[in-house]
């Protein structure tokens, strides 16, 4: 016989209230500011309702920022997962357990570096006059490549740093996951003369589908927060070639114009787009599983 108790409510309600305050107060404040014409240099403001949102869709930098954010998200998530899976499989197949442990430690170091430090280190490495990366290029071609100033290479160069941090870290996680799998299916496949890539493509990766999907979601959220990396390395340049939505919102709110209502309207749209996209993806993944 079940006895009714109020204990779960006693424990659950206070943290839920705290969480609700933390989640809803800033959100409501952001929506409220987005409906006004508040600027830092004007003491007064009034409600303009949807005017900021309408202006956004006539703003070429906003449209550009949507595209750049989408490209950044797709490129960094895909590249991180590819690098992580391939490296993990390579280490699983070729490295001794002792070597794997050593490499795992080395691979974790990049993600432990603060983003800003990593960005400064790589910015200097990409420097066309003094950078390490340009040294062999200058020897081979006679001229350096200004990776961070060229529209064709700037976003990819920043993405390299992101993948360097997260791809290596994820490869360690996937390696450890591979080590936990039962060896029998692998042995059976090898007895049937399956090649290494076939063993992993048809057996290893499908067995790890659930944790891999979780890693994809973690990386998707993390990629949305790449502001510091881009800000230090390119400040959104050359021109607006690496200007993501968060970069543009920050720029409008605090760097260039002090238009905090306009910046808030971007933040609100970003929040809505993220909620919708993640809900659809989550439902799709659950159906697929």
């Amino acid at each position: 016989m079940k006895r009714k108790t109020s204990l779960p409510a006693v424990f659950l309600i206070p943290p839920l209230i705290v969480l609700a305050i933390l989640a809803f107060v800033p959100t409501i404040a952001a929506v409220n500011i987005a409906l006004q014409n508040r600027e830092l240099s004007f003491p007064n403001s009034s409600y303009v309702w949807l005017a900021n949102f309408i202006d956004l869709f006539g703003d070429r930098r906003f449209i550009n920022a949507i595209w750049i954010s989408l490209i950044w998200e797709v490129v960094t998530v895909t590249a991180t997962m590819l690098v992580a899976v391939l490296l993990a499989i390579f280490l699983f197949e070729r490295a001794s357990p002792r070597m794997r442990r050593l490499i795992s430690i080395l691979f974790i170091i990049p993600v432990m570096l603060p983003r800003v430090s990593a960005a400064f280190v790589w910015k200097f490495m990409f420097n066309p006059l003094f950078g390490l990366i340009n040294y062999p290029i200058k020897l081979l071609t006679g001229a350096p490549i200004d990776f961070l100033s060229l529209p064709a290479t700037a976003l990819a160069s920043v993405a390299v740093v992101d993948v360097w941090q997260w791809g290596l870290f994820f490869s360690v996680i996937i390696l450890k996951l591979l080590e936990t799998l039962p060896p029998q299916p692998f042995e059976a496949a090898r007895l049937d003369n399956a090649k290494t890539w076939e063993v992993h493509f048809y057996i290893g990766i499908p067995m790890l589908a659930a944790p891999l999907i979780s890693l994809v979601f973690v990386k998707m959220v993390e990629s949305l927060r790449a502001f510091d990396l881009i800000y230090v390395m390119t400040r959104g340049g050359p021109g607006i070639a690496t200007e993501t939505l968060d970069m543009y919102a920050f720029s409008q709110g605090f760097v260039e114009a002090g238009k905090i209502s306009y910046a808030s309207s971007m933040a609100v749209l970003m929040m809505l787009a993220t909620i919708i996209a993640f809900t659809i993806l989550w439902k799709w993944v659950r159906k697929w599983q």
Binding site: L129, F130, R235, G237, F254, A257
Partner: protein, 421 residues
């Protein structure tokens, strides 16, 4: 030795006299909080904290942010919480801060015996808005043409006096195959970055920002200035297309560049062997005509919100007077902090001439007559200037090519800015 001790004693005595009234009144009751950007002169001040405490009764605290972040943070901070007693501001945002009443007129609280008139006239000009002084200068100056004497001599080129001669010299000296470049220009976005250098061409060709309150910059002068600036990038070192002061000065000081037109504080770095590989090899003169050097100044201003009453404002004023005093400028001179010397009595002193030689001093004096306030003196200038900075960076890096389209876009934006005031 005896003479040096005598001078130090005299300086100390003079400083005590200046602040005698402050010391007696124990003018400060709490720590003076300052939002600033890193400068060697401010770091030097921190080693004399006890001196200020003895004079005023309280200490001070700096929060440092690099230039762009300092601009962004100080605007947001002054508009909202306003917890800083003193703001480090610059010529580009003095109008915004003054008009928004985030700072108060300086001279109302700056002790008369601290001699504000001693500051260089150009710096006092950019520190004022509508004829009222708002900050005491920490750094400032105009433009100089810096050239590698050894390189120009080897190539048989005399320092260019006109823009045509300058461009011809750049073409001759530029040798990317050997990793050597004609010049280093600021391409990175910002009213204080690429736009700052572009404005010297804009003004040279007769450009004006506004006439009778209407935008006038979408003109032949702006077209010609932009086309000239873009053309010169053919000779600019790699990395400068999205770079600013740091990138261009590093390129020059590392010995990869023949000539550079930059703000005058660079001279101090260039002649410092610890920071420069070209020390002793550089010549200094005025920028080629008809370029109009960009007069600029950064300094300390009294915050309005954090200093709620007159006593607090007087304390902030006393701190600024001490921080920008002749005594502290002489300490900077002794330490070789060239860029942060602003008082005419120090610039024209024998000690200055002895330290930096006659050539730099002469170039500084000569360039003053070709220096002007090139930007639009208005609270909306940072916004308009930064918007043009983005468009200009797009043009420099080739992500857009229509100069006229860029100017049209800027004009539409300027009209929007004016309409909302």
């Amino acid at each position: 030795m005896l003479r040096k001790s005598y001078c130090v004693a005299l300086l100390g005595g003079a400083s005590l006299l200046v602040f005698a009234n402050i010391a007696n009144a124990q003018i400060c009751t709490s720590t003076v909080r300052v939002l600033a950007q890193p400068r060697d002169s401010l770091t030097l001040l921190e080693s004399y904290k006890d001196e200020f405490k003895k004079l005023s009764g309280a200490s001070f605290e700096f929060d440092y942010l690099n230039e762009n972040d300092r601009r962004a943070k100080s605007r947001a901070e002054a508009a909202t919480t306003g917890k800083y007693n003193v703001y480090y501001i610059d010529e580009a945002n003095v109008a915004l801060f003054a008009e928004s009443k985030w700072i108060v007129p300086l001279l109302d609280y700056y002790p008369a015996d601290a001699n504000y008139d001693d500051f260089d006239a150009g710096r006092k000009k950019v520190a004022s808005y509508n004829g009222v002084a708002y900050f005491a200068p920490i750094q400032g100056g105009g433009d100089l043409l810096y050239y590698r004497k050894d390189v120009l001599e080897k190539a048989g080129i005399t320092p260019p006096k006109t823009l045509e001669e300058y461009e011809a010299a750049l073409a001759k000296l530029n040798d990317p195959a050997k990793g050597f470049y004609g010049t280093a220009l600021r391409g990175g976005r910002g009213s204080g970055a690429n736009v700052w250098r572009w404005m010297t061409y804009f003004k040279a060709f007769g450009g004006q920002w506004f006439v009778d309150g209407k935008p006038a910059f979408n003109s032949d002068a702006a077209m010609k200035a932009t086309e000239t600036y873009l053309r010169l990038f053919k000779y600019s070192a790699p990395g400068t297309q999205t770079g600013s002061w740091t990138e261009v000065t590093e390129a020059f000081n590392s010995g990869n560049v023949a000539m550079i037109i930059e703000s005058s504080p660079l001279a101090g770095q260039t002649e410092d062997p610890k920071q420069s590989s070209v020390a002793g090899k550089v010549g200094y003169t005025v920028p080629p005509r008809p370029l109009v050097g960009g007069g600029y100044g950064h300094g300390l201003a009294i915050g309005a919100k954090a200093n709620a009453d007159d006593a607090a404002k007087k304390c902030a004023g006393a701190f600024i007077a001490w921080a920008t005093s002749k005594q502290n400028e002489e300490r900077r001179l002794e330490q070789g902090i060239f860029g942060d010397i602003n008082r005419t009595s120090v610039i024209n002193s024998d000690a200055f001439k002895k330290k930096y030689g006659a050539e730099i001093g002469n170039a500084l004096n000569e360039t003053a007559q070709y220096t002007d306030v090139n930007f639009w003196v208005n609270a909306d200038w940072p916004d308009l200037g930064d918007r043009w900075g983005i468009i200009l960076e797009e043009l420099i890096t080739g992500t857009r090519t229509d100069v006229k389209g860029g100017l049209d876009e800027l004009e539409a934006y300027a009209n929007k800015l004016i309409a909302r005031r």
